[in-house]
């Protein structure tokens, strides 16, 4: 008994340490976002007085181009990229997991290659290409590279999920009178759903957090996303420290990610395929 209690206590301690370690910077940013310029560097973890000026500043409709417009860009670009990447990735992953076709190895190899390619080295050529074909500083100008780099991730995650689904289920559906489309829609898709949601979260976070492409392939608020826009924050005047407003913006853009994960978490039920086949 004592042994298990000790063990539980030990694990609890380790977990608490990890959580504190991970959450400390986040809480610090929250704390900074709630401080005024004069108390910013007073070293207090808990602000003496709560000051919402930073939030008011960045959410002020008069300053639409400062933060709100980039926020709309971020949400739009990340959602569209995620949707397209997940749909394409699902189809590709299903084919990779279930069919044997000529060039399958090549396809997997190329997608692996794309995933490993250093993105920095592609920024300059992409900049030139997008400028000459008129995609520079547009939504598609960011959506396209995001899809490109998110697809390998999506294909890899999803094909692992598809491989987990026993093939016999599809055969059983066929024997039960289903057309291939019905078999996919009624049996395979519901079982692959956790995989699809997991992939969607990963891809969304990738697009949402990207700074490199966002800063290189945009120039105005027409397509600039929040991570890029943050670097243009100047504060109320040129001489004022923007730290407070940057922190406020950082807190706000963390919220969609948290919501996204919480919303889909319920659907990511591990072991959904348990009971399909013996084993």
């Amino acid at each position: 008994m004592a042994d298990t209690t000790n063990k539980k206590f030990g694990w609890g301690l380790v977990n608490a340490l990890v959580v504190v370690y991970a959450l400390f910077p986040v809480l610090w940013i929250v704390s900074l976002s709630l401080k005024g310029p004069e108390t910013l560097s007073d070293g207090n973890f808990i602000p003496r007085e709560f000051n919402t000026d930073n939030y008011q500043l960045i959410l002020d409709p008069d300053n639409f181009g400062l933060f709100l417009r980039p926020l709309i860009n971020s949400i739009g670009i990340a959602l569209i990229s995620t949707a397209i990447a997940v749909v394409l990735g699902t189809m590709a992953a299903y084919a990779i997991a279930r069919l044997s076709f000529p060039g399958k190895g090549l396809l997997v190899g190329i997608s692996l290659l794309i995933a490993m390619f250093p993105q920095v080295s592609l920024v300059s050529p992409l900049f030139e290409i997008e400028r000459s074909i008129g995609l520079f500083d547009t939504w598609p100008g960011l959506i396209l590279p995001y899809i490109t780099f998110a697809l390998p991730l999506a294909i890899y995650t999803l094909s692992a999920f598809f491989r987990e689904i026993p093939w016999e289920l599809e055969k059983a559906a066929k024997m039960d009178g289903a057309t291939p489309t019905q078999a996919f829609a009624k049996v395979i898709a519901p079982l692959a759903a956790p995989g699809v949601f997991t992939t969607a979260i990963l891809v969304f976070i990738f697009c949402w957090n990207d700074f490199l492409f966002a800063i290189s392939l945009t120039s105005t608020e027409a397509s600039r996303t929040v991570p890029a826009a943050l670097s243009f924050f100047t504060g109320a005047s040129q001489f004022e420290d923007p730290t407070g407003s940057v922190c406020a913006a950082a807190v706000i853009i963390t919220i969609p990610i948290v919501l996204f994960v919480l919303f889909f978490q319920r659907r990511i039920v591990a072991g959904l395929t348990a009971g399909a086949v013996k084993g």
Binding site: E168, K171, A172, A173, K174, M175, D176, G177, A274, A276
Partner: protein, 394 residues
Amino acid sequence: MAEITLDKVSKKFPDGAVAVSDVDLEIADGEFVILVGPSGCGKSTTLNMIAGLEDITSGELRIGGTRVNERAPKDRDIAMVFQSYALYPHLSVRENMAFPLRLAKVDKATVEAKVKEAAEVLDLTQHLDRKPGNLSGGQRQRVAMGRAIVRSPKAFLMDEPLSNLDAKLRVQMRTSVARLQRQLGTTMVYVTHDQTEAMTLGDRVVVMRGGMVQQVGAPQFLYDNPANLFVAGFIGSPAMNFVPATVEDNTLRSPLGDVPMSDRIRRALEAADAPREVIMGVRPEHFEDAALVDESNLPTGGKFTGQVEVLESMGSDKFAYFTVSGERATSADLDELAADAGGADLPGGAGQQLVTRLSAASAAREGSNAEVWFDADKISIFDPAGGRNLTYRD
């Protein structure tokens, strides 16, 4: 309900491997046919071709008199039970069983009634709202059967449906499968590698090997009259004993001693134009402790004396294991059987194992010598070259 006809059906994979070659089989309406053979013999491929899950390379498959080679599984109106059960994990037992009916667009009330009826037959009524993940192996197996029977298909196909169950449950389910088939009267094709299932379940057994049908017949006929060495060794448990023998006038000289030939054996060998060197097969149950055999019968059989190495007493009878010195019987068929049983590299020493089943009254003891007798009329003689049974009776 319908008859199924396989007319020279073959399956060749794109890599050139032939899985099934020229299978001819007529399955009558309502018949229970078992496909049996070692792994890789093509039995599952044959079943998948009947199901429509594998293309037929050549030959014709007819269900109810209509050619169905090109039809998708859903248009063949046959149900299949998979070895892994393949239940839909996201659906409840009720939904699993209703699935084929839903796809067939049957109205709700009928679906409900049919599922209820099937659940009663299979004793699943109280589990209808559970998910397959919460069921035991035997219950999952019954759900799989339920999914197959709800829509009253023309035929059932079963791909080793009991092999994932533990031994006791398997025996129990075996009986219920047989009862279910009789109750429904639906044509059933059942694949297994277990010869006990094959012997106990079917009206007819099809023994396959290397993609070819070796013999088709009622279980008892196959046991009494194996067409070749392979069937002889595969059917029956424990397996038939094989020893090399030489034909000399009216006797067979073998490591089991000289065996007088009965009239039936002699005539069969003459008719078949047998070679001098043959393989003799004796089933374990045709042996008896010589001390328990009636005096008058002794001369019409063979006698073998040896040290009992292992004695297994089953209560009803005793299995005595001997080692027979001398050469082993060798043939391609026997090698394959040994490989399938995993016995190819058993430490057998110089000799060959002989299994005998003696009655419980036998005084044989482990480690001491015993004399066993076998009926010379019940032996089978095989051609070592092709494995053909030279004493085969039509």
